[in-house]
Symmetry: D2
Subunit: 360 residues, 4 copies
């Protein structure tokens, strides 16, 4: 269980790091959407390993195939099946940890849960699985474009190097201009140098990805449990290595007084707007038409190029040695994943919201 | 949509602040659980308004009735229907805001979403709805007890008054000894004084509720989307006024190196344990047998006893005046709600985990 | 589990025959629907015991209360909670079977499944539960009316007395004119006399309810698993005592050749119609705009006024004696239940169909 | 929507008749099940076109690949992704009907629902989709075997040639001995000759598949909506060309008196058994440990080798001519599909039933 996400625009994913392949079924994508395979490919490129010196040097080609649900360039309303075959499996790399529990990985918990585990590259717990999310998220983005909705994420913190500027003071079109995906050039350089240093010290470090959704109409989100930010939060927390989620004023907001936190309504050309946006575009769990923004905290990658104490399946103390090609910091590659998951939530709730009133 | 939570141990709630009543159906509670109505009553008392000088002085009796699913003191496996009638409705209190959108409430978004709204006390968006959650959560707690699992929450921050001690250094049995529900007596007094001051200034303030689950067996949580912390996160973010969620090392963890963040495995009396617990008891989305702990950020209550600018349904500028009886800070009463939602997630995943292996 | 039905217009029911009460939550009813409590009351009257000499003489008042989701006469889009309290419980009537398994009832299976059972009146397995369905179905009917959709059921067979006329040759407005709910007066009289004879012989008999939905637009139903007739079939088979479901040509259709079974398309005033309707208004699992019609087979009521051999919980042979007030034939009272379930399926799929295309 | 089935053991399918490929994800298959690919292949062979003179002569190789969820010959508890590539697409065959609505096919309804359709071979509405069901069902069967549960279907009627013997008087091991899959040799020969005659007359005919599940423990099925027979009914009605479902006494049962229909309980070696089995192994929606049996009615195949009147997308009268290679009667190939769907329902409910009691 647990491999589906969404209610109407619903994805189900499968695939291990070193199995034959991985993929996703999108059920509920509306008919009539123009497919843009080049765009999906671009999105996968953004997530792909080996894209720069601060990401893993592992190669994965991520060639996808759409097997169904698209006819003559348009979606037909039937399920879209997508497959990405694994070509660079190198299972032998993992024999040294086949019975060892790597610290802060999912080796131990999968073994406890299922009594069996595919130890190759973390199996299902590998972030390789997120390729399927990015492919599906690309289609969600294509759908959202038709309604003027965009989703943009960027790196706002690496270790304790933090971009203090709010997104409203940034030019998000610059995000892809550098390899760390921080739209502030100066900060980006600091982050890159910092990650590179961490990598050289055979260590890893965490970071924060921030995300902004613009053009979201008022009315998305289904209280009381499926509040829009609760769905976004679950989506983000379901991404590998995520430890926290906050939206709008977030954790800092707890220090504020109601009188400063409240977003006063006013009218702008007959439209209801808010003067501030501590609400992060969501009030009572429903979008209010303002920008939605949130932060996602990623822990340092668990695989480090150092020896670590651990135990094995037989209950013996062992040493786990770092091997292979891994990211020193996951946030640059996490940017498209965060966007994909946000797009999936918004596409789903956009469709659900059509059922809220007696007449559309 | 959106009023159900959980897959096996699944709740569905209904009810507005000032309707005839509210309630919950628990579908999937296993048969054979000894019902303890006194315990449910106690839990509801902890959430109840009017319990101290730092909570709203509004009275709600919260008398519940179990209409089904229990026979001769035990659950029968059939759905448990519970109802709490609203006795202190005072709808007239709300006529002054019947067509006005209160800042940072859900008035505007419900109106946009549904084209109609029950303005009395916030209608469905009122935190009154959480009474149903606490009642259901009490039954989840009763179930968890049978498996040695406990869930305890407490207030760890109010405004910028922050309890820096980790939960491992606290005596959580002291939480209920003071009205702010902070287990550190000295900090509790500071928090109480602070909230009282905020109240007198006709303002409100936010805070953080921390929560610890002990005794959770390894193996709970369903990757990839229904990771245990993603489910906990969604549960918490679905509570009124919540702006953020983090577990284990959380947002602070992003600053750490992998080498310090990783939790080394070791053996203690033949059992696999971790030396540290930055993972917060969850690895790869699955519980590992260590304590689960997390923080939940609450914004300042939106209702303040001051005049605020706003607009009304007709699109005219208006002034909203604070009236009625409201909490200056929501966190003391949020403690049992956080516990309830955590218990619901754990009960659900405990049952789901029985299906993970071919043989139980 | 298993007490919810529907995806968008979704009901969850609770309640035992002799508990304090039963009820239903409707989640996903769109906002803006004018509530008509009198109509709900009428529908419940049609299902009510004691309405004629050929139904059980047991009295149940079935007074319902809408606790939420309706404000100033209209639905608000929030969950509608409805409760029907049990007033005529007479639990003592059932002490004689408290540890005995009544033949062809659910006593044995509930005991095996849950290890405990509420033996009073069959507990959750009692058809009393269908009162909640009828109440919810009445609201679904109110919604469908706004879109010109009607659902009408009638009794077409009792024992081997079968109304051979197709529904197209009947005047369905006559259905409520007699106590057996058969729109053919002559057949109705035969059926009534027959049921009365069966009742006098302390026995029971089965029958068939037929149902027609008119005005259903083309496009409802979600292949491949949620085909419209599969959803209708599940809905009907979930009603107490149902043993079979067929739509369109049904079981008789297996004898036909494709050349006679196929429904030729033609044009009538620019609209695509079919000359015959063996498809029963559904092709490939999707409504085609023609009338939907189907049959539902009900077995003879299991409670008979005779002694029967059985065993008890202790595994001893016992005699079960018939007692109490029961229906000699369930179909007259099943008519509104069949309609209710059909209306729920159609309301749900009408809403779902709004998400099929990119633009509504 | 609508392409998933099951709650715990849950399948999601994709794929059109003439797209690149089709497939299925099984989410929730428990870990530790020994995979038997040869068995899956055998099952697919049973469904395959071109297997005899009374099935379509179309060739489909149905070579499947398991892409994930299996490691070293055992399931790992992670989702099982399976793909079957389409190799014999011959899309050109369908240009003659690219804008025509074939009578009693899904052409018109898909077009109305989605505004677009993949006309090649019926697209998603093609029975080719059932290959994915058979593959998934084979894995469900493998799981059920571990618990001593078997599912066997056979053809019991073709046109009006009906096998009157109850399944208890048949040797079901003979089912695969003839091409029509009827375990009574004499009847089988009649059916084969009959279908062959129908084929030569360029026509098609319907039939009935009967199915028996043995070894099902008492306690499966989730009232009130997810009654075991309601789930089986939905599963069967979701198969292409199915028009009806009945279990146990079925439609014939309506003619019986309660006194003859009721299944008396008795004790056999300390075990509760029923003397008769009109209940079809299910009472109150829950299995009682007796054999489960049911019938599934299939209409005549809609594609006939004759000219038929119809209309096209432009709303003009047209003639549809029969072309290609099609089944004169679908039931022989439907046998493994019926078994697959039954196995999926039973596997799902077997897992769900582990959550019914407080302790397993």
């Amino acid at each position: 269980m647990g491999n589906s996400f969404g209610r109407i625009f619903r994805i189900t994913t499968f695939g291990e790091s070193h199995g034959l392949g991985l993929g996703v079924i999108i059920d509920g994508c509306p008919a009539g959407l123009t497919m843009d395979e080049a765009f999906i490919r671009e999105e996968l490129q953004r997530r792909k390993p080996g894209q720069s010196k601060i990401t893993t040097q592992r190669k994965e080609e991520d060639e996808f195939q759409i097997l169904s649900g698209v006819f003559e360039g348009k979606t037909t309303g039937t399920p879209i099946g997508m497959v990405i075959m694994n070509t660079d499996q190198k299972s032998k790399d993992y024999s040294h940890i086949s019975d060892k529990f790597r610290p802060s990985h999912a080796d131990f918990t999968y073994f406890e849960k299922y009594g069996i585990r595919d130890y190759r590259g973390g199996g299902r717990s590998s972030a390789r699985e997120t390729a399927a999310r990015v492919a599906a998220g690309a289609i969600a983005k294509l759908m959202l474009r038709n309604f003027g909705i965009s989703v943009q994420a960027y790196v706002s913190q690496v270790g304790d190097i933090k971009l203090e500027k709010a997104y409203t003071l940034l030019d998000l079109s610059l995000t892809e201009e550098n390899i760390v995906r921080c739209p502030d050039k100066e900060m980006a350089e600091k982050m890159i140098a910092f990650i590179d240093g961490v990598r050289k010290s055979k260590d890893t470090v965490g970071g924060i990805v921030s995300c902004v959704a613009k053009g979201v109409p008022a009315g998305l989100g289904e209280p009381v449990f499926d509040r829009l930010h609760a769905e976004l939060g679950k989506a983000m927390l379901s991404i590998n290595a995520v430890k926290g989620f906050e939206y709008g004023s977030g954790f800092e907001g707890v220090k504020m007084r109601g009188s400063e936190h409240n977003d006063a309504f006013y009218l702008e050309e007959g439209k209801v707007k808010t003067k501030t946006n501590h609400s992060g575009g969501i009030q009572g769990g429903i979008s209010n038409g303002e920008d939605i923004y949130f932060n996602v905290a990623f822990k340092p990658v668990a695989t480090i190029m150092q020896d670590q104490e651990s135990v094995n399946e037989a209950g013996e103390p062992v040493t786990v040695s770092g091997k292979g090609r891994h990211d020193p910091c996951v946030v640059p590659r996490a940017v498209p994943i965060v966007e994909a998951m946000a797009a999936l939530v918004l596409a789903d709730h956009l469709l659900i919201s059509r059922t809220n009133k007696l007449h559309v």
